[in-house]
């Protein structure tokens, strides 16, 4: 059987040269905290008291600010390794074709499944024209945000982790868990929902790393990531939830939202979410098959 991850060797080759564990950890932390700090500076003059991403302008800014992550990353790896951010993208011949194919395949699957079973009971629909008008801007913002995350997590973090570690549990599991843990703060309603969120995002990161290691570029992972986030942000939201400006349907907030949902319900839901993630990943695998 041929090595399914043959392309990964070419992908991580630029990171092999001077990869030292200590330097890698310091570089990664420097990028992460440098980005966190600069991000706060960007948002200093912006009033976020109405909630994060509640208006169209702040929604777009939240996402577009991820471009700063790439700038920080570019500066730091130039100093540390003498590399530019474009060298983190991988095989240029596969980058955009894989991105487009996986994006189209996964969005089609989402759309198909949404049309089959969308329950809008209780939800209010926002004006369709305004939603359509904002959609291109929203998509641009989501493309920037997911692209920047892919450059950092599947470009930088994965390249160096795979150059440093031999065992898949380390080079796949490590960066995937890191991706899951930085998402822990996104859903702070209850312990169960944080666990479900981290478990799902970790599994999602494993799928992205798998796609990157198979294709030798971050294109396929970016396509999957974009499809997932577009669906999460532009279809439905809950009253008062963060990043709600681009959604077409708004469900009323649950009165018991402060106490958080029933843990059993959350974990039950996680099983279905993971099954659907597996189907999305299979779709991506089919779209990148040559």
């Amino acid at each position: 059987m041929t090595d399914p991850y043959a392309a990964n060797k070419r992908f991580i080759a630029p990171a092999r040269g001077g990869a030292r564990p200590g330097q890698f950890v310091v570089t990664a932390l420097l990028v992460f905290f440098g980005w966190t700090f600069l991000r706060e500076l960007v948002f200093l003059p912006i009033d976020r008291s109405d909630g994060v991403g509640a208006t169209r302008w702040s929604f777009f800014l939240e996402l577009a600010a991820f471009a700063v992550l790439v700038v920080v990353l570019d500066r730091v790896i130039w100093r540390a390794y003498g590399r530019r951010w474009t060298s983190l993208l991988g095989d240029p011949a596969r980058l955009l074709p894989d991105f487009a194919r996986v994006l189209v395949g996964c969005l089609a699957l989402y759309l198909f499944f949404l049309l089959l079973g969308f329950d809008g009971s209780g939800a209010s629909q926002r004006p369709l024209g305004a939603w359509v008008a904002f959609l291109p801007v929203a998509l641009l913002g989501i493309a920037l945000q997911t692209g920047a995350e892919e450059v950092f997590f599947r470009g930088f973090l994965h390249q160096y982790a795979a150059a440093l570690f031999k065992h898949p549990l380390l080079w796949m599991g490590g960066p995937a868990l890191a991706f899951g843990l930085v998402h822990a703060a996104n859903d702070p309603t209850s312990a169960a929902s944080v666990f479900a969120y981290v478990a799902w995002t970790t599994a999602f990161a494993v799928a992205c790393i798998d796609l990157t290691a198979r294709t030798g570029s971050i294109g396929a992972a970016w396509g999957l990531h974009l499809a997932v986030n577009v669906t999460a942000l532009t279809v439905a939201t809950t009253e008062g939830a963060p990043m709600s400006a681009a959604a077409l349907f708004v469900y009323p907030a649950r009165p018991d939202a402060m106490a958080g949902p029933d843990p059993a319900f959350v974990l039950f839901g996680l099983v279905f979410e993971l099954a659907f993630l597996t189907v999305l990943w299979l779709m991506a695998r089919n779209m990148i098959a040559r």
């Binding site: 089959l116 009971s121 099983v271 279905f272 099954a275 659907f276 779709m283 089919n286």
Partner: protein, 291 residues
């Protein structure tokens, strides 16, 4: 050889028939189906909120509710088709097996089963108290919708059990291991039909009859090489149970007449025994015609 159609039926599964793959596929089919089904029924309840509620649909208690409940099996077809395409890299039509004689096999079996069902109907009319449940005109109005949807519902179940599971396990274990391709899908089929709320103390007998049904349809499929005949038997069986006579309880909303019994009542026992007998007679007759 007892199962001349076995090889042609399972051949499309041969390339990707690893046990882990089939197990993953079965779990994915179940979860994707269940997730989409909940969404489909809730979504239909939302779109048709003036006429039917999601609870009525789930119980199948009105004609429209039964129609929607039958239509939701499209979701099962989609679940098995998506998993077959993406995980096994083969088209959903290959789940039917060899399609050259599919229609002929379907019609032949449906004809035999319908003839027996007609005899059984006479028997029921002579021995049971029945009450008309729905005005015949209204019932007729729903028939053009209900019949194709029953074709969809029985077809969906055949695609999953005699198609997907039987082909995958058959390709992995071979014709000799009947425990794998015949018994295992039949037990899963029976377990998924367990409903203690409506079947009560008759549960084990009902499950036994359903297992017998699944074993016979698996046998028939392996003889003919496609799901056609099994689909025909399933279709006629469900037309009888959903559209003609029904027991009280779930899915009774579209039947012409009621037997006035629930699946849990002791008086239903002879009916289940008769059901099993009719199945075996249909199978015997079909074997005479087919062999």
């Amino acid at each position: 050889m007892a199962y001349p159609g076995f090889e042609t039926h399972t051949a499309p599964a041969a390339a990707r028939a690893e046990l882990w793959r089939t197990a993953l596929g079965a779990v994915l089919i179940l979860l994707v189906y269940a997730g989409l089904a909940v969404g489909f029924i809730a979504g239909a309840g939302w779109l048709l909120s003036d006429e039917v509620t999601a609870n009525q649909i789930a119980a199948g208690s009105t004609p429209l509710a039964v129609v929607i409940l039958l239509a939701h099996f499209a979701v099962m077809v989609i679940a098995v088709a998506v998993v077959t395409r993406l995980l096994h890299r083969r088209g959903a039509l290959t789940l039917m097996g060899d399609r050259t004689h599919l229609l002929r096999d379907f019609l032949r079996m449906a004809g035999i089963a319908a003839a027996m069902a007609a005899l059984a109907t006479v028997f029921i009319l002579l021995t049971q108290e029945i009450t008309m449940e729905i005005a015949p005109g209204r019932w007729l109005l729903f028939l053009p919708l209900a019949l194709p949807l029953l074709l969809l519902q029985t077809g969906a179940e055949e695609l999953v059990f005699r198609g997907y599971l039987q082909q995958q396990l058959g390709a992995r274990f071979g014709v000799g291991v009947r425990a794998a391709w015949m018994v295992c899908p039949a037990l899963i089929f029976a377990v998924l039909h367990v409903d203690p709320a409506s079947q009560g103390q008759n549960l084990w007998l009902v499950v036994l009859v359903i297992t017998l049904f699944a074993l016979l349809t698996a046998d028939i499929t392996a003889r003919t090489g496609s799901i056609g005949a099994a689909w025909g038997l399933h279709f006629v069986n469900n037309v009888q149970a959903l559209l003609i006579f029904s027991l009280e309880g779930p899915l009774s909303g579209l039947s012409l007449a009621s037997l006035g019994l629930s699946a849990a009542s002791p008086a239903a026992l002879p009916l289940f025994a008769a059901d099993a007998a009719v199945l075996l007679i249909v199978y015997g007759l079909w074997r005479r015609v087919h062999d």
